[in-house]
């Protein structure tokens, strides 16, 4: 049976599932709470948190402190609200079958 495993057990390219849910992060980028599936890689969630906080930080450095930032991709929307240096981040995958979330402004 080891023979078959050698033939078919190789690594295959996998499609990354898009995250759905909400995370809150503190000012250091640590994830405090999360409703995203535990199957979603933790390091990617940390990347999202770090990049979102960096966007807020860069905006403050540019004399344009922002209360909310949203990143719109072809298949995922990320909306983040600033919370005393940390943030609450909403992750909405965009598919043709799902209804679009109703944003207040953007």
């Amino acid at each position: 049976m080891g023979f078959l495993k050698n033939m078919f057990g190789g690594r295959h390219g996998a499609v990354q599932q898009l995250p759905t849910g909400t995370i809150t992060v503190d000012r250091h980028g640590h994830i405090v709470t999360s409703t995203v599936s535990s199957a979603f890689p933790k390091n990617l969630l940390r990347d999202i948190a770090r990049d979102v906080l960096e966007l807020f930080r860069e905006a403050r450095a540019a004399q344009m402190p922002l209360a909310e930032v949203s990143l719109h991709y072809g298949s995922l929307n990320i909306t983040a609200r600033e919370l005393r240096g940390g943030a609450i981040i909403f992750l909405f995958p965009q598919t043709a079958l799902l209804p679009k979330p109703n944003y207040s402004r953007l």
Partner: protein, 355 residues
């Protein structure tokens, strides 16, 4: 070295993709063939690669071919499109052509008449340097208007270029009105005539349309050609300065008319000075724009979330929208009172700014 065009094939059937890739690689012009099995992947490739021609299937899961073509027509107006479908239904054929598709072929016909299909492909690939409007290749907008006037016809020409839409009203061979992006009359005509490519369609004539253009169309075309010549070949430093001043004034007027506060254009690839209008904090905002584009692209790649459409931000005073466009990024600032479809308004502003 001769330029190799890039062709992108979109189909959910992996075997068909492999077959097409082999067939197209044999074309005399030796194009580079890329493949995608989902619309999402195809859009990501269109965003990053200079694709010349998209060959798409119609029946696909999630985003079907017609949806995909509508997106491509709007976001990548310069990409030529071919539909290659197994659906022998005239309804699909006419819907595809209505979307501005260059060619519709059945998969069975492609295999039967591969020589003819290859000739059509080569012909579409060879037209890269020619500006022209879909439907009448290699004809400029001036030619199209002159043809309409000579035929003494009455019609409404609807011209689309990306998110911009313009209309020309013709009545018995005379141009009576023009409208583009809020401007009307001769001013609109002047702006419109500078467009080098797009798609157009004939709509039913509107006899009750109020006349705002009173000059004969030939006089108007002559004046426009003269203005365009002067702009393209300025004589002396003074003319260059005055052309640049005119351009700045025009951009400012666009900004004011749309209600935006400022626009900043930042080159994202390599060095280059940002261009800013309407703000005194251009250096800081340009820096944020550059960083936001970089961070968002990096994150999108890691999450495999598809092409970056825009990044929006807001505070109590204003809202900003960062739009990536090729190797540049635009940051548009809006007052918070404007709540209606800010991304679409920003996209229009950026497109008109660029045109």
């Amino acid at each position: 070295m001769e330029k190799r065009h890039k062709i992108l094939i979109l189909d959910d059937d992996a075997d068909w993709l492999a077959l097409c890739r082999d067939l197209l690689a044999e074309l005399p012009s030796k194009p580079e063939v890329l493949t995608a099995n989902t619309a999402k992947r195809a859009l990501a490739l269109l965003e990053t690669e200079p694709i010349r021609l998209l060959i798409s299937d119609l029946k696909m899961p999630r985003i079907d071919g017609l949806q995909m073509l509508a997106i491509v027509r709007r976001q990548f107006p310069d990409v030529r499109t071919i539909v290659l479908s197994g659906l022998e239904d005239e309804g699909y054929r006419s819907r595809a052509y209505a979307l501005g598709v260059d060619l519709f072929w059945l998969k069975t016909e492609m295999q039967r008449n591969s020589k003819l299909f290859n000739e059509c492909l080569e012909s579409l690939l060879g037209r890269d340097d020619e500006a022209g409007f879909r439907g009448l290749q290699s004809k400029s907008l001036m030619d199209i208007i002159q043809m309409e006037c000579l035929s003494r016809g009455s019609t409404v020409l609807r011209i689309t270029r990306g998110p911009l839409v313009a209309k020309l009203w013709m009545w018995e061979g005379e141009l009576i009105d023009a409208e583009v992006d809020g401007a009307r009359g001769e001013a609109a005509f002047l702006r419109l005539i500078g467009w080098k490519s797009g798609t157009f369609e004939n709509l039913p004539a509107e006899p009750n349309r109020e006349r705002t253009i009173h000059k004969p169309v030939n006089a108007l075309l002559l004046e426009t050609a003269q203005t365009m010549d002067e702009a393209a070949n300025p004589v002396g430093a003074e003319s260059i300065e005055s052309a640049s001043h005119r351009q700045t004034m025009w951009k400012l007027s666009q900004l004011t008319r749309e209600g935006a506060e400022f626009v900043i254009v930042v080159p994202t690839a390599g060095p280059g000075e940002p261009e800013a209008l309407g703000t005194q904090h251009s250096a800081e905002l340009a820096q944020w724009t550059r960083r936001a584009a970089e961070i968002a692209r990096r994150l999108g790649d890691r999450l495999e979330a598809g092409p970056l459409l825009h990044v929006a931000g807001q505070n109590l005073e204003r809202q900003v929208l960062m739009l990536p466009r090729g190797d540049r990024a635009f940051l548009v600032g809006w007052p918070t009172e404007i709540t209606e479809n800010v991304p679409e308004k920003s996209r229009k502003l950026v497109a008109s700014w660029d045109s």
